[in-house]
Each structure stands twice: as C-alpha cells, then as structure tokens.
C-alpha cells in the first residue's frame, strides 16, 4: 500500500531530513512513527500526500509514484487519504458541521448525501451534538476529534496523523488514539507520528523509529 525505497529528502540549504529510508506498509496496518523532533517524522508523512516530493528514491502510494506525479493528479491522490494535523487547520469562519462538509464539496455528492455523511463522521467522533458550534468554542481534544472527523468523512483508505496528541492531556490523548484504533479495526491503514513513547508502549503496535532521518530499529 505504501512503500519507501532508498528515499532521501533534503531541503534547500542542505538540511537532510530523510536519508536512504526504505520500508513498506501493508493494507490495514497500524504503524507508529517515533523519534525526537527533527528526526524526520513530519517529512515522512508529508511525502505520502505529495506535500513534499522526495529528492531521490521512490515513494509509492497505492501503486502511484509520488516523485513523478503530475500536479493535476495530486488532488485525486489526497482524496483517498485522511490527514490529521497537529495544529488541526480548522476553519473558524464556519460551524463544526461545515468544517466536516468541506471535503465533500468537490466530490460530487448531493447536499443531502453529503450532510448525512458529515453527521455520521461527527457521530463517530462524538461531536454530533456540537455540529452548530464554532470550532473555536471546542476544547483541544474536541478540536482534534473534529479534525479526525474531517479526515475520515470521505472514507479514505489511509489515515495519516502528525502528532495528533501533542497538545492534549493524557485522557484526551487516549481517546484520540482509541479512535484511530477503531478506524484501523475496520480496515483503514493508519500512520501516526508521535514522540509520546508511553502511548506507543501501551498499544504495542508496529513502530518505525526514526533517528536523524534513518530507521533506528
């Protein structure tokens, strides 16, 4: 489903974020990417939705080569991915409900169908009662759950999360991780980048540990 081979990514100015990285992830896996900040976790996650392109090596996602992908094809790649960000990237000029509706605006759903899907996604993350609220009034954990609802509303086959629990207290963090686990249990491939070692040890999943852009174990 996702395969990295000999991937190197260096940013302008010569900083090498990833170096000769090779690994594969099968459909339905739950994988944690760990490492200290600056180890290359975010860069790794950014390569999959083609936010960044590899400097050399090959990144394959669902058989598509990210390095050589045309600009116009990128949106269609991203529709099959659910992205959860550390800073959530919610839109505060609209309601919780409208935030979740956003990914459905360009996929050709009728409004009725889109609304039904959006409510289902909000229900899954336990925010259905807050659909009319402005995201700014939500707590940190709720905002992160809203971000997850937006990521899964299109029923993606791969879910990517960059430090989803970084700004949360341990209870909210556990809730969020449990949510990822439940999506994984229905067949979604889940990649989570985190520096929270305690969280990883509790779940005992497959771990890709990064250190200075290389796999450490």
């Amino acid at each position: 489903m996702i395969s990295f081979s000999q991937v190197r990514k260096s940013y302008r100015g010569g900083h090498e974020a990833l170096c000769e990285l090779s690994f594969g992830i099968e459909t339905g896996e739950l994988v944690f990417i760990t490492g200290r900040s600056g180890a290359g976790k975010s860069t790794l996650l950014k390569l999959i939705p083609a936010i960044e392109r590899p400097t050399s090596g090959t990144v394959l996602v669902n058989g598509q080569n990210i390095g050589s992908m045309r600009r116009a094809a990128i949106p269609y790649l991203r529709r099959n991915l659910g992205l959860v960000f550390q800073d959530q990237k919610l839109l505060y000029d609209r309601s919780v409900f409208d935030n979740v509706m956003l990914p459905l605006a360009f996929t050709g759903h009728t409004h009725k169908d889109a609304a039904r899907r959006a409510r289902a996604a909000l229900d899954k993350v336990g925010l259905l009662a807050r659909e009319k609220a402005n995201p700014i009034t939500l707590s940190g954990g709720e905002q992160q759950r809203l971000c997850i609802a937006r990521a899964v509303v299109n029923r993606p086959s791969i879910l990517l999360a960059d430090e989803p629990t970084a700004s949360l207290d341990s209870a909210s963090a556990a809730e969020v991780v449990e949510m990822f686990r439940s999506f994984n249990q229905v067949g979604v491939t889940v990649l989570i980048a985190t520096h929270d070692e305690a969280l990883v040890q509790r779940l005992n999943p497959r771990v890709l540990a990064l250190s200075q852009g290389r796999l450490a174990r």
């Binding site: 949106p75 529709r79 992205l83 839109l91 956003l102 050709g108």
Partner: protein, 301 residues
C-alpha cells in the same frame, strides 16, 4: 453536467453570501467600478444623442444654387431641365428673388432694413435635395458650377464635415477614456480578489490538503470577478440614467426655447446587456490575473 451545474450554483450562492457578509466593502468596490465605467458610458450616451441630432439635420444634404443676376425666365427653365437630369438630385425647388425677399421680411429681425432697400439685392435660386453624402456632394459641386447662368454654389457639406469630424473626435476621446477605465476596472477586480485570496488563505490551504482541484479553488474567485464586474456595470448604468434624468429637465426647457422637443434618450436593452457582459468579462479578467498571480503561491507546508 448536473454535478457541474450544482457545483457552480453552490459556488455562486457562497460567493454572494460572502459579499453580503461585508456589505460596506462590497458596496464600495461596486461603486468604484460603477463610477469608473459611468464616465465613458455617459460620454458615449451624449455622443449617441448628438449623432442622432446630427443625423436628422444632415440626413438630406442640400445644395443652394444662386443664379446670375441677368438670368431670365428662359434661362431658368433651361437650367431646371438640366438639373433634373443630373443623377443624385432628388428634388429641386425654385425660389425667386421676390420670394426670397418676402421670406427675409417675415423672418423678423431684418424687416426694417429690408423695407428700406430700394432694390432687391437677392438673386434667384434653386435649392436641391440630394441623396448624397458629404463626399459625393463634393464631386457634384464642379458639375453644378459649370452650368450656365450659375453664379454660386453653396454646399452645406462643409459644416456637415466639421460636425462629423467633431463627433469622430468625441468618439475617439470616449474610446481612449473607456480603455483607460477598463484597465482601471481590471485593476480594481485584481486587487479585490487578491485581498479575498489573502483572507481565505487558510481555507485554500486546507482545501488543497484535502484534495480540492485547482479549478475548484479558483472557481469562487472567478465568480467573484464576474459578479463585481456585472454589479459595477449595473451601477454605471444607474448612475448614467439618473444623471440623464437630471439633465433632461434642463434640456427640455432649453429645447422648448428652440421649438424642439429634443431630449436625451437612454441606451436600448441590447446596449445595456452588452455593457453588463463587457463589465463582467473585465471583472473576470482581473480575477483571472489575480488568481494566476496569487493562488499558486499558497501551498500547504
């Protein structure tokens, strides 16, 4: 097709809602565009009306043929026969010197002077109606001059030409003004949409991250440009119409003094629609330039 239509109508509604959320800024933008368009539009309307008047006056250019003093009745009859054979002469009217003098007496101001005259200083004359334009009239002139007993040929083409070239000058001025202000409109749309792109930077970034195509992201800005242009055009038409109504009150008073019922008339529906389309296209052009300039710079990091 229905998806395409639905997406466009959804975008249109969203764009209108967004405009309604900032009514003051929206109104100001539309007014700037409206005033910029109203200047050349008003000029164009005045010219159209002037052209209409000039057309009425000069529709049938006339030629006055003054005869030599020694022309007698047989000369006049022969000349009349000759004139009737000239192509381009539609109708002719003979005005004897006596008739001319009588006419002058009745026209008021000069009657005292004329009754004091011992002899009639006026010549006999023919007035020819021609179907010719200014150029053909010029060609007719030597032919008429060569006729026997013709002392003087008076064309009214000289002032027709002056009026026509004056109108052409006016049209040119309006065209230049219109081009400059069209550029102004494009610039206003460009800047408005640049600001809109900046305010929606977050939304654009998120949309790109969750798989919106470029055309989907561009669409609302194109709609915005079109709407700004069209509303600006409507504002311009309204401004010109109101100004015309105000002017018409004075013009009617003035025209009545000259025994005319002249008043300014507004554009027809096709002209109005053409202007709206033109303004909308200019707005779209500004949007297009702004979007190509600014949208690609916003990439998720």
């Amino acid at each position: 097709m229905s998806t395409w239509l639905r997406q466009h109508s959804q975008t249109l509604v969203l764009t209108l809602k967004r405009l309604a959320r900032n009514p003051f800024a929206t109104l100001l933008n539309i007014m700037v565009i409206g005033i910029a368009l109203a200047l050349p539009l008003g000029g164009y309307m005045l010219l159209q009306n002037l052209g209409r008047v000039a057309g009425q006056v000069t529709g049938h250019p006339q030629v006055s043929l003054f005869l030599a003093r020694d022309a007698d009745k047989t000369d006049i009859a022969a000349l009349e026969a000759r004139l009737k054979q000239i192509p381009g002469v539609r109708a002719l009217r003979f005005i004897s010197r006596e008739q001319a003098l009588e006419g002058l007496k009745q026209s008021g101001n000069l009657s005292d002077v004329i009754t004091a005259l011992q002899t009639n200083p006026l010549p006999d004359a023919f007035v020819l109606d021609t179907g010719a334009g200014a150029v053909e009239l010029q060609q007719l002139e030597p032919q008429l001059k060569a006729l026997p007993k013709v002392a003087h040929v008076q064309l009214d083409s000289a002032w027709v030409k002056r009026l026509e070239s004056l109108l052409a000058l006016g049209r040119m001025a309006v065209l230049i003004l219109a081009s400059l202000l069209a550029c102004g409109l494009v610039a206003v749309a460009f800047n408005t949409i640049r600001l809109q792109i900046l305010t929606q930077k977050d939304e654009i970034e998120v949309s790109k991250l969750i798989g919106a195509t470029d055309s989907f992201i561009r669409r609302p800005f194109f709609h915005l440009g079109l709407i700004l242009g069209a509303f600006g055009g409507m504002a311009a038409l309204t401004i010109v119409y109101l100004c015309m109504q105000i002017l018409n009150r004075r013009i009617l008073e003035l025209a009545q003094l000259y025994g005319s019922d002249f008043r300014l008339s507004f554009f027809g529906l096709p002209d109005c629609l053409a202007l709206l389309a033109f303004a909308a296209i200019l707005g779209w052009l500004g949007a297009y330039m702004s979007v190509s300039r600014h949208l690609y710079g916003i990439e998720p990091k």
